[in-house]
Amino acid sequence: MSATTATARARELLGVSSLTNRALTGWLHGLPGVDQVGADARAAALGTRSIKTSSKAWAIDLAISMIDLTTLEGADTVGKVRSLCAKAAQPDLRFPDTPRVAAVCVYNDMVGIAKEALEGTDINVAAVSTAFPSGRASMKVKLLDTKDAVDAGADEIDMVIDRGAFLSGDYRKVFDEIVAVKAACERPEGQENAHLKVIMETGELVTYDNVRRASWLSMLAGADFIKTSTGKIQPAATLPVTMLMLEAVRDWRELTGDMVGVKPAGGIKTTKDAMKYLVTVNEVAGEDWLDPDWFRFGASSLLGDLQLQRQKLTTGVYTGTNDVTID
């Protein structure tokens, strides 16, 4: 979607002749508020669903297939990225029916390495760009960063929004940046564009009202996915925040007919946590989102615990962490 089309569509949805910051503010602030106490209580209630036996086995496999297996360290090496890719393609040697993960998520400079390592698989490579994690760079740099990753073959771009602009109320700036990065994700005719995941860094947005507004703003600007966090800021993904985003994509589909994906990232480590998220997807957005195309876990260590629980369900024996490979 070109910048002109995106703006035209936004104008139509808002019912305004010009997409000013005032118009965006009016629209975003006209969204229903979020009562934090109530939202937390609802998320806690969803977290008490008891998932057992066949449902658990099904949900574990689904969760594995939804993982964006991630390494985002300054200390990342070529070897580490290759190991991660090997693990992504073959999570469990002893149980070859273990599903593969959805994507491997790396820094920009590792995209080529990951693409090469994953050649022949259908696992995507996601790159964090736009001066991740702070996003504090000029637009020129952010776009170059994105282009770089797209040119290196990234299937998915995880961008960060300008939280400073958002918090100061400059929604138009945030909108424009997302639209521009989305345009930078495009490839020539015949080749698939990179999918755009918009990281809102909800821990820095602080209030639930902000989370809801940032979700709607991102979708308005053309996000394919909305994502909670970089993983570099605490709190990262939380269940209530993910629930609010799921409500947003659900309502967005009501309004426009389009589906947008959701990706909680950072801090989801255990099978138990993952089950809570899947229950929330199921009961809030609906089962259409129970699909790696529409829901992802951004995680580095979750896969290991899912494997252990899967082994336990398969063999009846709970083994130890050495029964799964560390990378």
Binding site: G38, T48, K52, E247, L278
Partner: protein, 483 residues
């Protein structure tokens, strides 16, 4: 991988409870066979299977219980220091917490409510009430009720079937803290947790006669209420029975508190936090199958968002899981009795006949037991029976309003006045509404929250007197000015 997330059954084990074949009356610390020799059967409403038989107390049995309570009052409990009484009440609170799973399972078996509610709401709050009132036992003169409040004596208490253990705690904990002794009559369809509570009293080494539990139906309750040596009567239940009790107590020296029916308005303004409001509506009417006297059974929604709220509500209702109360994933359990199911069925038929639009989500109800699918009526008018009469089931009536004044007028246009809910992001409107609503409890941006520190009770035909908090103590104390 099919895109369906069917939760496999997650049943709570019933092995923690040990239900006897029959139970006698708990009088003076011992179990006594009823002098009538009669027993009634209590069943599991989810399966219609008999759980146990329970003694039917008559006038003679009630007399024994009141005498035991009087003896315990004059010889032990009434003269014990508050600090000493507190030790016993704390002990009860701790034992309830320790044995909470046993109580929760038994409550769900006997009542039909989902285990997640008995486990997460009923029993924890019951225990919390004992903890809270234990703290007051030695501080009565600081409760703001006068400098030297004194106990009343023997208290006769009759409680309903919707929250058997919680209502017991609401009644027994403040009565004991204030220094009274108790004769309690639990509901005939849900007596088992009260009888298990008798076991807790013994485990806590509560002096015999301080708490007496007399089971039976309406006649037994009437015997408790009308016994001449009862100093105070406390009743929670239907308005019809409450009126009969008020008549029978009138002219006697007994003091009385009544906590009766309700037809609460849950009022949603167009600036409400809408997803949380929908949760509040669901919690307001489908919690405990709607067997809640303060249930938000009338949804008053601002006309401009009525359609949207109804649509979101219906979508949310489609995710409610109705069925086996012992399954940890069940949201809506069984209706407590066939009689109650018949009443709900009759009133909902009246709703349709009066022209309201009925809707329920698709759900398969179990073949045996008493079940009613969550139901919402739209196009309801104030003059419909479903907008006026207490249904006491999972049935919501939706009405609309345009202005705050109209919302208040409609909310107050009922014979009841127990609770109300307001959903808006505007704080000043919350305060204005709360000032104008005739209801004992007004919740803002939440619903059905209970806390031992917070008083609860009604206006108009919802009764009088308060339970919970310091106000709850006042109902069990004689203060200056009383004679």
């Amino acid at each position: 991988m099919s895109p369906r997330f069917d939760y496999a059954p997650a049943p709570e084990s019933t092995s923690v409870v040990d239900i006897a074949d029959s139970y006698d009356l708990f009088i003076d610390g011992e179990f006594h066979a009823p002098s009538s020799g009669e027993y009634l059967t209590t069943i599991n409403p989810a399966t219609e299977e008999a759980l146990s038989s329970v003694a039917v107390g008559n006038d003679a049995d009630v007399d024994l219980a009141v005498k035991a309570a009087r003896r315990a009052y004059t010889r032990v409990w009434g003269r014990m220091s508050g600090a000493e009484r507190a030790k016993y009440i704390y002990r009860i609170a701790r034992i309830l917490a320790e044995r909470s799973r046993e109580f929760a399972v038994l409550e769900s078996l006997d009542n039909g409510k989902p285990i997640k509610e008995s486990r997460d709401v009923d029993i924890p709050i019951a225990s919390a009430h004992f903890f809270y009132y234990a703290g007051w036992a030695d501080k009565l003169e600081y409760a703001g009720l006068g400098t030297s409040p004194t106990s009343m004596g023997v208290v006769g208490q009759v409680i309903p079937w919707n929250f058997p253990m919680l209502m017991l705690a609401w009644k027994v904990a403040p009565a004991l803290a204030a220094g009274n002794t108790v004769v309690l009559k639990p509901a005939e369809t849900t007596p088992l947790t009260a009888l298990l509570f008798a076991d807790v009293c013994r485990q806590a080494e509560l002096p015999p006669g301080v708490v007496n539990i007399v089971t039976g139906a309406g006649d037994t309750g009437a015997a408790v209420v009308s016994h001449p040596d009862v100093d105070k009567v406390a009743f929670t239940g239907s308005t019809a029975v409450g009126k009969a009790i008020a008549r029978s107590v009138a002219g006697s020296r007994k003091s009385l508190t009544l906590e009766l029916g309700g037809k609460a308005a849950n009022i949603v303004f167009d600036d409400a936090p809408i997803d949380q409001a929908v949760e509040g509506i669901v919690n307001g009417i489908f919690f405990n199958q709607g067997h809640v006297c303060c249930a938000g059974s009338r949804l008053l929604v601002q006309e401009s968002i009525a359609e949207e709220v109804l649509q979101r509500l219906q979508r949310r209702m489609s995710t409610l899981r109705v069925g086996d109360p012992m399954d940890k994933n069940t949201d809506v359990g069984a209706i407590n009795s066939r009689e109650q199911l018949d009443r709900i069925t009759e009133l909902t038929a009246a709703g349709e006949a009066e022209g309201a639009t009925r809707w329920s989500p698709e759900c398969t109800l179990p073949e045996r037991g008493f079940w009613f699918a969550p139901t919402v009526f739209s196009d309801v008018s104030q003059s419909h029976r479903i907008a006026q009469e207490e249904i006491f089931g999972p049935v919501l009536s939706v009405l609309t309003f345009r202005t705050p004044a109209e919302a208040v007028a409609k909310a107050n246009n009922t014979t009841y006045g127990l609770s109300a809910g307001i959903w808006t992001e505007k704080g000043s409107r919350i305060l204005w509404m709360a000032d104008h609503l005739q209801a004992g409890v007004v919740w803002a941006n939440t619903f059905n929250r209970f806390d031992p520190t917070s008083p609860f009770g009604g206006y108009k035909e919802s009764g009088f007197g308060r339970e919970g908090g310091r106000h709850g103590l006042a109902a069990y104390l004689k203060t200056e000015g009383d004679n």
